[in-house]
């Protein structure tokens, strides 16, 4: 589904990604966690085709759509227009399945996207990406600036989509706890390199990961229904 092979991306002199390799298989949910500035957004923008790598390669089999960090909606356009523009690459501009998934948006369809709350905007951002009928959904910082309950609802929707349609999801998150709960497999990106990878269960037991990303606590992350 997604194969990244020794990807090197530079912004002028600065190296943002230094030989990153990872894979996402069809139908998988994979997490990519790491601190601010690790290069997570750079990676997503590269596989979305916006940045040309300096070295290495990546391959996307099928369609990829990104839910960008900070929503990045067309603020002065309506919800409906935002959604329909998400279908730019495909023929089908019918928003009904998005309104079925997010009933709240149906009532908001003629509102200007910039006037919505953070949670509603995030729904529009996800909906817009889904309009492209992607095989792989890359979600960048879903939880940023949102109340926990809103995040949980959105996360549930994503898991449901993954289960029902087999759409793969690459979940990029600073909130490692959330990401490891939702995704069975994860990579940790630090300073442009994959520091460690494995099943979420393994990672949540790894002391270094726990200390850096999970608050160092001894409580269980695994045991959620999504784990193998």
């Amino acid at each position: 589904m997604l194969e990244v092979d020794n990807l090197v991306v530079r912004y002028g002199q600065a190296t943002a990604l230094d030989g990153v390799s990872l894979r996402v298989e069809r139908g998988e949910m994979v997490a990519l966690v790491g601190p601010n500035g690790a290069g997570k957004s750079t990676l997503l923008n590269t596989i979305s085709g916006l940045i040309t790598p300096a070295e290495g390669s990546y391959r996307v089999t099928g369609r990829l759509a990104q839910v960008p960090e900070g929503r990045q909606l067309f603020a002065n356009m309506t919800v409906e227009d935002n959604l329909r523009l998400g279908a730019w690459r495909v023929r089908d501009r019918d928003c009904r399945r998005i309104y079925d998934l997010f009933p709240q948006l149906g009532g908001l369809r003629h509102r200007l996207a910039g006037t919505l709350s953070g949670g509603e905007q995030q729904m529009v951002a996800v909906g817009r990406a889904l309009m492209a009928q992607p095989d792989l959904l890359a979600v960048d910082e879903l939880s940023l600036g949102l109340a926990p309950r809103v995040v949980d609802t959105l996360a549930e929707h994503l898991v449901q989509l993954n289960r029902e349609t087999g759409m793969a999801i690459l979940l990029v998150e600073q909130n490692a706890r959330l990401a490891l709960e939702l995704c069975p497999r994860a990579y940790v990106l630090e300073a442009g390199r994959i520091a460690v990878s494995g099943t979420s269960e393994e990672l949540s037991r790894t002391a270094a990961v726990r200390a850096a990303y999970l608050g160092g606590a001894a409580d269980e992350i695994v045991g959620s229904p999504n784990q193998p």
Binding site: S48, L50, L73, F74, A75, N76, L85, A113
Partner: protein, 287 residues
């Protein structure tokens, strides 16, 4: 009183042509963030081309239409050169349009000479209520109204129009969604060329154009566009009409040479006023 109306009506007509030029500025700026300093050139080229075609026996209507198409093509070429490769900063593009505008003087002089050019528009006068107004003025107003209507339909009700709007709203998100922002910029320049060309075709029967008329036309169009923050064509239309009427009154009651001064003073005043309201003269995006 009738003299006042005469001046005002002729001001409305010139205001309409300013509005068309202003919309060209707005369309290009909204999509590519480039202020197109060659905008006036499109009008000059179209006016002169119409005159040439008419003198070769091309019928009215067809000559004007061809001239607008030519102006659109020139707009596309300006866009190709100014926008350059993907990733060219808008400020660099702006300077290139300035250079292209000045550089085109030579091309215009070689093609049409350096003397003012005009041609007869719609002949005859309409009379109503003691006021006579040239049919050409009415033509200008009608064509402008139709154009604005079509543009509004295009931007608000077609998918492509919304794609163009998206490019100015959030270029990053537009690229994510698959819109080729660079290509949309070229489309905007072509549209800007056509609008400038339309303005030129309408204004030349009223005011002869020569190779350096672009400055006056562009200043007026730009002043009107700035009134709408370079983003809102509707507001630019209002500004353009006010400007046209103001200039006509100044020229009629005072001295014609002060006409362009009005535009500059208005523009300066607007920018100072907008700055003092602590909102930028050019609007930032919301998200």
């Amino acid at each position: 009183m009738t003299l006042f109306l005469q001046y005002a009506l002729s001001g409305v007509a010139t205001g309409c042509t300013f509005a068309l030029v202003a919309t060209g500025f707005v369309v290009i700026y909204r999509v590519s963030r480039v202020v197109n300093f060659a905008q006036g050139i499109f009008a000059v080229i179209a006016g002169m081309a119409t005159s040439s075609l008419l003198s070769r026996g091309v019928p009215h209507g067809l000559a004007e239409a061809l001239a607008v198409v030519l102006a659109a093509l020139v707009g596309l070429v300006v866009g190709i050169i100014a926008l350059g490769r993907r990733g060219t900063p808008p400020l660099a593009s702006l300077i290139i349009t300035l250079g292209l505008g000045i550089g085109s003087y030579a091309a215009i002089i070689m093609a049409w000479g350096d003397q003012p050019v005009s041609f007869t528009g719609l002949p005859g006068l309409a009379r109503a209520g003691g006021v006579s107004i040239q049919y050409q003025f009415l033509l200008v107003v009608v064509v402008t109204a139709i154009t604005f209507g079509l543009l509004s339909l295009f931007f608000d009700h077609t998918y492509l129009g919304k794609g163009l709007t998206a490019c100015s709203s959030n270029p990053y998100a537009a690229r994510l969604v698959g819109i080729d922002v660079h290509r949309m910029g070229l489309l905007a320049f072509t549209l800007g060329g056509a609008l400038g060309g339309l303005a030129g075709v309408l204004i030349t029967p009223l005011q002869p154009v020569s190779f350096d008329s672009d400055v006056g036309i562009a200043i007026n169009g730009f002043a009107a566009a700035i009134f709408g923050g370079l983003l809102r064509p509707g507001t630019a239309l209002v500004g353009a009409l006010v400007l046209g009427v103001a200039e006509a009154l100044v020229a009629g009651y005072y001295r014609a040479s002060f006409e362009s001064g009005v535009a500059l003073v208005v523009m300066l005043g607007l920018m100072v006023w907008q700055a003092s309201r602590r909102s930028p003269a050019v609007e930032e995006e919301m998200v």
